[in-house]
């Protein structure tokens, strides 16, 4: 288009970084709400990369997929928070270390 275009590899590196931060968060944080946020971060890394690839290929399919991911992520978080509330009512905590009735 013009000289100001950012190469797609930059988006790739940024997405991989965001995704890795999300993975680390899921693996090492102990609060269930923070883990949700980290999963959202992983999904948003994917969204960013999809949008970048979509522009690269000149194909709108990738951007439509982003909307699907957003909608599904919203549904997932709605169910997830409902489950968290259910657990909070029983054990008064959202720390996943309390959930050790079943051994890993």
């Amino acid at each position: 288009m013009d000289n100001f275009q950012i190469p797609v590899s930059y988006y790739l590196v940024l997405s991989v970084l965001l995704f890795s931060i999300g993975v680390m968060g899921v693996l090492f944080r102990r609060n269930a709400i923070v883990i949700f946020m980290c999963i959202e971060l992983m999904l948003n890394a994917v969204n960013l990369l999809l949008a970048a690839f979509s522009v690269l290929h000149g194909d709108t399919g990738g951007q439509v997929f982003v909307f699907f991911i957003m909608a599904v992520a919203a549904a997932e978080v709605a169910v997830g928070l409902a489950i968290l509330i259910m657990i909070y009512r029983n054990v008064k905590s959202t720390d996943i270390n309390i959930l050790n009735k079943l051994k890993w």
């Binding site: 999963i39 997929f65 599904v72 079943l102 890993w104």
Partner: protein, 459 residues
Amino acid sequence: MEPIIIVSLLGVTALLSEMFGFKKVLLPLLILGMAAALCFNQSHWGVNTSYYHDMLLVNNYSVAFSSLLIVVAGIWLVFSGPYFTEIAFRADRAAIIMFSLTGALVMISFSNLVMLFLGIEILSISMYILAGSNKKDPASNEAALKYLLMGAFATAFLLFGITLVYGVTGTFSLAGIADHVMSGRQQLPALMHTGILLMMVGMAFKVAAVPFHFWAPDVYEGAPNEVTSFMMTIVKTAAMGAFFRLFSTCFAAAGGTWPLILSVISALTILTGNIIALYQQNVKRMLAYSSIAHAGYLLMAVVAMNQHSAGALLFYLAAYAAATLPAFAVLSALAANGEGTGTEAFRGLAKRNPLYAFAMAVSLLSLAGIPPAAGFFAKYYLFVAAFQSHYIWLAITGVAGSLAGVYYYFRIITAMYISRGSRDETPIHASLPVRVMLLIVIAATVILGIFPGLLADYF
């Protein structure tokens, strides 16, 4: 296509039954509707039709797996009467079951990665709710949360894989990706191979393959018995069907390291599942580990990837479902009777309810792969498929794993028939539909075991 519409409408019907007060006839209505869906589904046999700009492709593979899913769900509904006894939750639970079945049907007829993702999520989000449907039970709560966190985590990997594949090929359509793979086989970029591996990791999480299995025993143990049975049959069938469809249509020709990595995952899954199952005292948890081991056998079909794989996969999943459903029907009956799910509960069952004991024994024999039951030929076909694709070491691992399996399955059979404990000998009552259905499913197991060609030559 019609089965997907009918089953999702059945879900809506179940929600409406709350409003219009026909909850009493809901379950028979659902079974009737599923029978209709099955008929419509079979009418597509032999014809390839694609829907919605090539989003879904109905071919023989998807017809066969859809039929299996619908039949298994119907049998599950008959066995799971107690799960729907509580009238307040009946409509909700039935609706979520129907929606998850819709997701399963989408998962095995997709021809676009968008539909794969949507199918997996429709199925998974429904299952997160069902796993936690026993709201007062902390184990059920914990199962729901673990399933949700691990499921969402796996989905993110799958999506990242899909994105990388899209970045290389510029399309989500399976046919487009397959074209790209075929035309550029020699110079596929590293990004493509990374994408394939990430998608494989995502799917391996969903089918609970080692080393991505650690959520499965907890979720299977914590969820209500009927839901565990649903997860082991319907969810596993859909996930394996989708896994195989994805890799056979798109990535079989791509080469790279995925067949090697997947064969190692398969062998590890077989060994780990069987060995840990040996040490379980709780039958439900033992079945959970055995289900992990069975996922390992099933992955052999994806690794082998030859003309016998699809038939072997279908036969194995059918045999596995036909063995798991009765086993869980018996387990649920004992648990509902207040006996728990330990091996202890099965002591002297042959005296208390001969039919239950017999059904459990046949199911366990089938799971172990002992000849008169269907499980023998199921394993045989998979091992042959692996052998033909020169994965001889994998076939040998499979045989070794199933030998270990014989031990822990027989422990329960001995407890039921031989050991005489101090347990009371009051008979356990089984309702008429459950008794009839148990007999039908056992008969199916034995008939498939004697005439395996009925299903294995389906394709």
